[in-house]
């Protein structure tokens, strides 16, 4: 026990005696660690900024799924989806993909429908398909939409084309056109026609509704209501009339994937189900490729820095071995084994690595903090980037990384040290 303790003390004293010289030799580690400490948080911040502020607005993670009929002669015509259908089973399967984060289904009421519009004493009854989408999908886009409680009047969102149609009509009648806001809150009636049955003719139902706003949400002319209204109405009528059909059909779905990189694979799987997929896959793949190139370039720079650092530290350690060859050889003569010489030297370099790793981390952290304040001035395009400072994990990583570099660089010189032609060296 005392033997071990006194030898630990001896090695520690030896290391401390030589630590300054070894630290200067391994100075490159500080620069390498500082660079890594600056690069990792900065890269993460830029990536986060791109994902949330640029790609997020481009809906780059989004996939729009159409029924098979939208593809005609290899050309996708999304407006055709209004007359198509995606089976419920396929919708369920897609929603169960692990890569899918959210999925909004667009449903169409499978009844004949009209809209009853009365304005300034004039009335119109255009045939309009009634479609539904979940409340979350339009949340924040249409005021009052998310407060829908499945009660009447039913809130509806009309395509912007309706404003043009109404104003055309008003101009023909020598009346001033109306602004979009003036039309909001306009009371309307949705007319739903129950199909004729054996013992009774077609029946018209009038559903009071309110125009909440205008939006071209989907690539086909439709009046949008919350999908909950359509599914509950259809269920009610199916039971009441004893219909075999469900009363509504899925005509489209909008899914978001958890990460852009899943986009191509998810799109391929949906296409294999016979459906048509439209996505920002091209943009996503190009963006991913750009990020990959930036990453590869950065890793190459780190790799080159690492290589240069290791070579330079290795070279410095060789010099140290040369300078200290006299004492290594004496120790060998006195009875120190080769293994112990190697361990002592590597341990010394590991202690130095620990110190330099910590110094490199704090230097990098300070530089990162300074750079994050100035980045907007240097590169105006990146002024909105918020660079978060380095985490504690990065400190431990820096120290570990530094120990590994320092010890690896010292290993070969340590073996040289233990193999010096001892007896000749001792005769200096």
């Amino acid at each position: 026990m005392f033997y071990i303790l006194r030898n630990i003390a001896l090695i520690t004293k030896d290391s401390i005696r030589n630590i300054f010289r070894t630290m200067i030799s391994s100075f490159g580690i500080i620069i390498l660690i500082a660079f890594v400490v600056m690069y990792i948080p900065f890269r993460e911040s830029v990536k986060r900024y791109l994902e949330t502020n640029i790609f997020g607005k481009l809906a780059i993670n989004e996939i729009v799924i159409y029924p098979p009929n939208v593809r005609k002669n290899n050309i996708i015509t999304p407006s055709s989806s209004i007359s198509g259908e995606i089976s419920a089973e396929k919708i369920r399967r897609i929603a169960a993909f692990p890569e899918i984060q959210t999925m909004h289904k667009v449903v169409r009421l499978d009844f004949k429908t009209k809209l009853h519009i009365s304005l300034f004493g004039y009335t119109r009854y255009p045939y309009v398909p009634i479609c539904g989408v979940s409340k979350e999908y339009l949340k924040g886009k249409i005021i009052g939409w998310q407060n829908f409680k499945n009660t009447q009047p039913v809130p509806i969102v009309a395509p912007k084309l309706v404003i043009e149609m109404l104003n055309e009509f008003l101009v023909i009648k020598n009346m001033p056109p109306l602004e979009e806001n003036a039309l909001k809150g306009l009371p309307l009636n949705i007319l739903i026609f129950e199909p004729p049955m054996e013992n009774r003719p077609e029946k018209e139902l009038q559903i009071p509704s309110t125009l909440l706003g205008f939006a071209d949400v989907f690539p086909f002319p439709t009046v949008l209501v919350p999908s909950e209204y359509i599914t509950s109405f259809a269920e009610m009528k199916r039971k009441e009339l004893g219909l075999k059909k469900r009363g509504y059909k899925y005509i489209m779905a909008i899914a978001t994937v958890k990460e852009q990189k899943y986009l191509p694979e998810v799109a391929r799987r949906i296409q294999n189900m016979g459906l048509v997929v439209e996505s920002q896959q091209d943009i996503a793949s190009k963006t991913n490729k750009a990020l990959e190139i930036i990453d590869r370039f950065s890793y190459a720079v780190i790799g080159i820095l690492l290589f240069i650092t290791i070579i330079s530290i290795f070279n410095s350690y060789l010099n140290i071995v040369y300078i200290r060859s006299y004492s290594f050889s004496l120790k060998r003569i006195i009875g120190v084994s080769k293994l112990r010489i190697i361990l002592e030297f590597v341990l010394e370099s590991a202690i130095v690595g620990t110190l330099l790793g910590a110094i490199g981390f704090f230097l990098g952290d300070r530089m990162l903090s300074y750079a994050s304040q100035k980045i907007g001035q240097w590169i105006p395009a990146l002024r909105n980037i918020v660079v978060t400072s380095s985490s504690e994990n990065l400190l431990w990583f820096s120290i570990f990384f530094s120990i590994v570099i320092s010890s690896l660089s010292a290993l070969l010189p340590a073996i040289f040290a233990s193999n010096i032609n001892l007896f000749k060296a001792s005769r200096k």
Partner: protein, 262 residues
């Protein structure tokens, strides 16, 4: 005790030692002389386990030391062999005291380390310079510190490579006397590689290396015109003493009492 059998050593094309056979007996002083570059120091390196011979064996107590691994050979060197060199070869970053103590730190079986060091300091008259660094010491002082370091682990053999080669005549006389005293009082054998003929006054065997071969020599009737007139102890304290740890079985029953020997 230590036997070199049919050892040959070549460096590339150059044959340095050829079929050397030589035995070191206990409590003897063995002198090896020869021209510079004749292979004297190489022979010391081979005997101490630091230079593996091209052929032949080095046996210690019947075991070939070159069949051992580096770890065991290092232990053997630490415990059994002491070294003294022409240029003293002390660790420059350590004080004289730390230099003497160093071999005991790496010896897992050492006991009474500090008492032994204290005894040697007194025995060799190093009290005044013990906390000095090697660069501040004279040649004689350095060599005495080196001798103390060589014998601190109570080795069986001390190998000395030109131990007086860097000393003036008077100091060389003191070192020669000291070797003789240590042999007598501590029972340590010496293998001394030297050009100094005065060593023959205290030698038990005398060899020369000529043409890569070790040849036993007769003692000349008149070996030196400047033989040491007094022993080292005459100059120091006239009272040679044993290291406390080197005791007969009877003596070891009284571990705390330092035994004084004539």
């Amino acid at each position: 005790m230590l036997s070199v059998q049919n050892v040959s050593m070549s460096f590339k094309e150059r044959n340095v030692l050829n079929n050397i056979t030589f035995t070191v007996k206990e409590n003897t002083i063995n002198i090896i002389m020869g021209k510079s570059g004749s292979g004297k120091s190489t022979l010391l390196g081979i005997m101490s386990g630091l230079l593996k011979p091209t052929s032949g064996q080095v046996l210690f107590m019947g075991n070939d030391i070159y069949r051992w691994g580096d770890f065991r050979r290092s232990r053997f060197r630490n415990k059994t062999i002491g070294f003294v060199f022409q240029f003293f070869n002390l660790l420059p970053d350590l004080t004289a005291y730390q230099n003497i103590l160093y071999p005991t730190i790496i010896n897992p079986f050492s006991q009474n380390r500090r008492k032994d060091v204290d005894y040697l300091i007194e025995y060799l008259g190093l009290e005044r310079i013990i906390h000095n660094y090697p660069r501040t010491l004279s040649g004689g002082e350095l060599q005495r510190v080196a001798i103390a370091r060589a014998i601190i682990n109570r080795p069986k053999i001390v190998m000395a490579d030109e131990p007086t080669g860097n000393l003036d005549d008077d100091t060389a006389d003191q070192i020669i006397s000291l070797f003789n005293d240590i042999r007598k009082t501590q029972g340590i054998a010496f293998v001394v590689v030297t050009h100094e003929t005065r060593f023959l006054n205290i030698a038990d065997t005398y060899y020369r290396i000529e043409n890569s071969t070790l040849i036993k020599q007769p003692f000349p009737s008149e070996t030196s015109t400047h033989a040491p007139s007094t022993t080292f102890l005459d100059n120091q304290r006239k009272q040679p003493r044993r290291l406390i740890a080197i005791k007969s079985p009877q003596q070891s029953k009284k571990p705390k009492k330092r035994v004084i020997a004539d």
